[in-house]
């Protein structure tokens, strides 16, 4: 009996910590009878891939949120990385792309995110600039560079690069493997390393962390570089998926999706709180809402109203949940 009760206890605790799980389950249960196609392997794969894409961005974002910062530059980093990678390939590769050129392109794309992330971290940690302002400015100037660099022209990418997204390993799409590994890695860093604890400490109280000898500069730079890196990884996926290097790879609305997912999943905008499992739950919910609304084939107006409303409602539910658990 003992261990069984223990498991139930864990599940209860989990459901209490993440009420969004109820929302996702309820949503699924109601849509399935109306649209059984939602459970078709084809749609489940579409859903899983949507979750993977959003999860990459949310993970990076959450590292920054945990330090009580915010990264609004993700769409711009993605666009710049996309056009840098695609134009490198266009100049250095044939139609299929050699493995070496593809690898080089991916490394270049990742470096774009790391470099911009470093700039953000440096500005926030050492120049004491507000994260909101620094990253919002980057959203503009980095995005501007991407448009200027390409003059808005889309760049096709070679067939080999596309396999980064469309390839399969043991029948499962490559990006699902990649993102699963990333999620496990992020979880490990946050919960099992000195750096992870320092990220939370900086978010909980910058001054306390400073007095306690935490190298806050390095920690903040690490958070923003992680965020930039994740944006670049997402850019690799988007570029491969759409067969296109584009300075308008993604709409800024993706920020609402990834910040919303993190917050719904228990990450605090005030810093110090957030776990990978919760973020995953938030991402599943946001992706599921999008999938269900499209599955139902509702008119566009209904879709945006419901989506906004549902995110708001989930946030309200979350706030109530927190207040009750705080009062206990």
């Amino acid at each position: 009996m003992g261990p069984v009760r223990g498991n139930i206890g864990h599940i209860q605790l989990f459901l209490r910590d993440y009420p969004v799980v109820w929302l996702s389950l309820g949503l699924g249960l109601l849509v399935v009878p109306v649209r059984p196609e939602i459970l078709s392997p084809l749609n489940l794969e579409t859903l899983a891939l949507a979750i993977a894409l959003l999860l990459v961005l949310s993970l990076g974002q959450s590292f920054v949120l945990i330090t009580a910062g915010i990264d609004l530059s993700l769409p711009a980093i993605m666009s710049l990385a996309s056009v840098v990678g695609a134009s490198y390939l266009a100049g250095n590769s044939d139609l299929t792309g050699t493995p070496l050129s593809i690898l080089t392109a991916i490394v270049a794309m990742l470096l774009v995110g790391l470099a911009i992330g470093f700039l953000h971290g440096f500005s926030v940690a050492y120049l004491r600039m507000p994260a909101f302002l620094v990253t919002l400015a980057s959203l503009m100037w980095v995005g501007g560079i991407a448009v200027w660099y390409t003059e808005s022209v889309r760049i096709p990418v070679p067939e080999g690069f596309i396999q980064v997204w469309y390839g399969r390993l043991l029948g499962i799409p490559v990006p699902l493997w990649t993102v699963a590994i990333l999620a496990v890695l992020a979880h490990f860093i946050l919960s099992n390393t000195v750096m992870g604890r320092r990220l939370y400490a900086v978010g909980h109280g910058l001054q306390t962390a400073l007095v306690s000898g935490v190298p806050i500069g390095r920690t903040i730079v690490f958070a923003y570089m992680t965020s930039g890196l994740c944006a670049s990884i997402a850019a690799v996926f988007y570029t491969a998926r759409l067969h296109t290097g584009s300075p308008e790879l993604v709409e800024n609305e993706v920020l609402l999706d990834c910040i919303g997912a993190a917050v719904i999943g228990g990450t605090s905008l005030f810093g110090g709180k957030g776990k990978v499992i919760g973020i995953l739950m938030g991402v599943v919910f946001i992706a599921l809402v999008g999938n269900c609304l499209n599955m139902l084939g509702l008119r566009y107006w209904h879709v945006i109203m419901i989506k906004g409303g549902v995110i708001l409602l989930a946030a309200v539910l979350d706030a109530f949940q927190r207040r009750w658990s705080g009062a206990e």
Partner: protein, 329 residues
Amino acid sequence: MLRNWHLPFVVVLGFGLLSGCSEPSEQLRIGVAFETLQTEYWVASVEAIEAELRRRNIEMIEAVADNDANRQLDQIHILIARGVDGIIVSPKDSMTVIPMIKAANRANIPIVIYNRPPADNDGQSVTVVADNYEIAKATVEYMAERAVETGRKYKAMILIGDLGDINAIARRDGFDDAIRPFSDIIEVVARVPTEWSQDKALSGVTSALQVNPDINFVFASTDFLFPPLISALRTAGKYKKIGEEGHVLLGGFDGDPLAYSMLVERYLDADGVQDVYFDCAASVDAVVRMHQNQIVESIIRDPGFVIHQGNLEEKAGQMWGAQIARSND
């Protein structure tokens, strides 16, 4: 904890009510995936497609991607998962539509590309598109002829669209080729990139007018950009009717309701019109024929036409914007 259980169910109940209306049936079902519904042109297009589908007793399933190519690809996958019989897609640009074509091909579902032709690819699709180059060229030629009549010199500005969109390039090229023979009297002094955005258009036009206050010949690559253009011209004191002193020769593209009223009020000289009714009917017809395994030519061109002060009465009946403007009155 128990108390907040009911909240999820309220949300979910909402979904149930909204979705309960549409039941699966034996009708043909066509997915219509639009990149945006943020301008009247696209709304008019979707409505025209819907009307045509209804006429043929075909069910329409709509998906709008809100300017996001990745989301549009998701929507195409979802339409495929729902087992639609055909897809009409208006993509964000000519590149990102390629994976959509491939996905439809893999699922063996016919796909028609509305309005924005895809870049070269080995997929199977049919494109319905207005002849953007010719329509734009004809429009600007009409404007240039009016310029010649005045015997004055002209400084010209063009508002260019998103260069990821082949149509934007075609319209720009049409403009350039129409102007070239008149280069002795018309000099192009400003090329404002807008990426199809009103904000960018407003700031671009405003600064262009400051640098070149004597601009008196303007072509907008889409009527959707008229509101910021008018506002910038008005601020500069240059928004005048035809015949008034200081009138700026004005041309646009699309044939939307605002362009129609500007023509009626004699602010606008000429507008290139895409024949939305023709395009939409052709798209539906193509997707149905493909579903029936008939051979369909891979590009269906809409010749379009130029509407101007000289043929306003005669052509207004074919102009989609005129229909909307009149029905709103």
